[in-house]
């Protein structure tokens, strides 16, 4: 039961750092502190869902009935390279340029 795995909510600074890392968000020390307090309060509020018995209830991921949206795989003109690269902070040789991935 969900009730067993979610105790009264406190999101520790360590948990905040873990989630921020998953989300690739650099947070300052004061942001982490505020995030811990505010997210704990929000999670405390949303925890009222745990009191509902949803055994046998299917999840809704879309309100629309599932249906096929397949189309013929035919090539058609898209945006040109120059247009696509125009908003990039750095490009080189018709590609997006980024710093090294590895140290």
């Amino acid at each position: 039961m969900p009730n067993d795995i979610i105790p009264a909510m406190t999101l520790t600074i360590e948990q905040v750092e873990h989630i921020a890392n998953l989300a690739r968000l650099e947070l300052s020390a004061s942001e982490k502190e505020r995030m811990s307090q505010q997210l704990s309060a929000i999670l405390d509020y949303v925890n009222r869902l745990q009191s509902l018995d949803t055994a046998g209830i299917p999840p809704t991921s879309s309100v629309l009935p599932p249906r096929s949206v397949l189309r013929l795989d035919e090539p058609h003109p898209g945006l040109d390279l120059e247009t696509l690269l125009r908003n990039a902070p750095e490009t080189e040789a018709d590609q997006f340029r980024v710093p090294p991935v590895l140290d």
Partner: protein, 496 residues
């Protein structure tokens, strides 16, 4: 020519067709009014006067050709100005989404909704203010400053489409596009005293709408009346090969002039007790009951109806929407668009760009969504929220077997003061408590003014209908607006 901005939409359409004034003169009148009033209101983030005048000249040419050669009547939207929320792409015009992370983004294509309205000949005046990535209920989360409510400059216009709602309320645009993920059209419409439509999920293409919560996002419209909103809706609705969730279904035509006497005979209107909560502003509650009485006088049958899971809509929404947002906003990493925070390695570019350029509410929702989706918590949070979403949708399905429409307040309170909810995100979230359920169920809703409180602030009623029955919303709201004149009231801004 400033009086052109005071004409009703049908008067403008007639005037353009007869050649009493040109689309250029109309656009100029709005641009002049914007120049005069928007430094105070801050409804626009980007103005496009050159583009507007070029488009107006094209419309004038079409109108003059038609007057000369006859043929089928042009679209009633030909030559009519439009404001567009700055989260919908207009080709070649900066689209910030209210965020510094897109401060210099120029989309190379039009949103389908925008393209279809351009096809009808509408003129684009500019892009309106929004909470960052549509996350908020006041426009206070915009990185570019708050929009002021035209009825009281010390108050918010609502949000997230607050710029569009305030622009229409202040007469800076006759029509404006918004988007509604949890109430972002209906709540600001209510707070600004204009009519705002949230169509059924899937009815209007989301192509070119910068994604927030993809299972909830809908493009909507603001106008001074239900009849005005219906014109824009009919033009932009319909299936689009560029959005796999857009639905191929006929769009029932709404013709406001079909009958001379608007009647709601044969319509059943449900009133859910769950929407009349302790703590809501008593004047709002009274005005809604008064408006329901008018619907009854117009011939509707009023009956109680129950939506028993209403109290769970807020917690469900604040798990599902942030979860979808945390995935959608992963694309802002300083690689393909936006400014980049420099760093030695790519992972640090991601972290610093996102940490530096996203605002507090966006970071909060990314964190919340990431947590709800993370290993060990997915089933208890996201999974449970999706199941309760099913229960909320079933509430509506069940209710719409008994009634055609559901009447509720659009918001529990009238417009709140700028800064009133600062530093308390949960209290801000509660402002959307009556609009969130329709997004979770996918059903259409319309908000429109039904009175004013003692402070002179507009009060909005919300009607919801079963999926794809927008025509019922138009019919009922139009009948109400034929019988009352709340929607014709305008804030007194001319002296300011």
């Amino acid at each position: 020519m400033s009086t052109l901005t005071e004409l009703s939409l049908s008067e403008v359409t007639t005037g353009l067709r007869h050649g009493n004034f040109s689309s250029r003169e109309l656009a100029q009148a709005y641009l002049e009014r914007i120049e005069r009033l928007d430094p105070t209101l801050h409804t626009f983030l980007t103005l496009t006067p050159e583009l507007a005048l070029v488009q107006a000249d094209q419309a004038d040419q079409l109108l003059s050709d038609w007057r000369k050669n006859g043929g089928a009547a042009p679209s009633p939207l030909l030559g009519i100005p439009l404001a567009v929320k700055d989260i919908l792409c207009v080709a070649g015009v900066r689209c910030t989404c209210g965020s510094r992370i897109l401060e210099n983004f120029i989309p190379p294509y039009n949103a389908t909704s925008v393209a279809r309205l351009r096809q009808a000949g509408m003129i684009i005046l500019g892009k309106t203010n929004t909470d960052e990535f549509a996350m908020g209920s006041s426009t206070e989360n915009s990185a570019y400053g708050v929009t002021h409510n035209p009825w009281d400059l010390s108050r918010v216009p609502g949000g997230s489409s607050g710029g569009s709602a305030a622009a229409v309320a202040a007469g800076l645009a006759p029509l404006a596009l918004g988007t509604d993920t949890g109430g972002s059209v209906r709540q600001p419409a209510s707070l600004c005293g204009v009519t705002g439509l949230k169509p059924t999920y899937g009815r209007v293409s989301r192509y070119g709408l910068v994604a927030f919560g993809s299972s909830l996002d809908v493009v909507g419209v603001f106008g001074h009346s239900a009849a005005d909103a219906a014109l824009v809706f009919a033009q932009m609705a319909g299936q689009d090969t560029l959005d796999a969730t857009s639905v191929e279904l006929p769009i029932p035509e709404f013709q406001p002039d079909a009958s001379t006497e608007p009647s709601l005979h044969g319509l059943r209107v449900g009133v859910p007790g769950e929407y009349f909560i302790t703590g809501m502003q008593p004047e709002v509650e009274a005005a809604i009951h008064q408006a329901i009485t008018i619907l009854e006088e117009l011939g509707a049958v009023i009956q109680p109806v129950s939506l028993p899971h209403t109290q769970y809509a807020l917690p469900v929404y604040y798990l599902i929407a942030p979860a979808e947002a945390s995935a959608n906003l992963a694309r802002y990493d300083g690689v393909r668009y936006g400014p980049r925070q420099p760093a030695e390695v790519m992972w640090d570019v991601f972290r610093h760009t996102r940490g530096e350029l996203f605002g507090p509410e966006v970071k909060r929702r990314i964190m919340l969504g990431t947590y709800a989706l993370s290993a060990g918590y997915y089933d208890a949070y996201y999974g449970q929220a999706q199941k309760v979403r099913t229960l909320i949708k079933r509430d509506f399905d069940q209710a719409f077997t008994q009634v055609n429409l559901i009447a509720t307040p659009a918001t529990p309170n009238t417009a709140f003061r700028i800064g009133e909810h600062a530093d308390d995100p949960l209290s801000m979230y509660l402002e959307d408590i009556f609009t969130l359920p329709a997004n979770l169920a996918g059903v259409p809703g319309i908000a429109f003014p039904v009175g004013f409180d003692s402070k002179g602030l507009p009060i909005g009623m919300q009607l919801t209908a079963a999926s794809f029955q927008e025509d019922l919303l138009f019919r009922a709201a139009h009948a109400y607006q034929q019988a009352t004149d709340w929607h014709t009231r305008r804030p007194s801004l001319n002296q300011s």
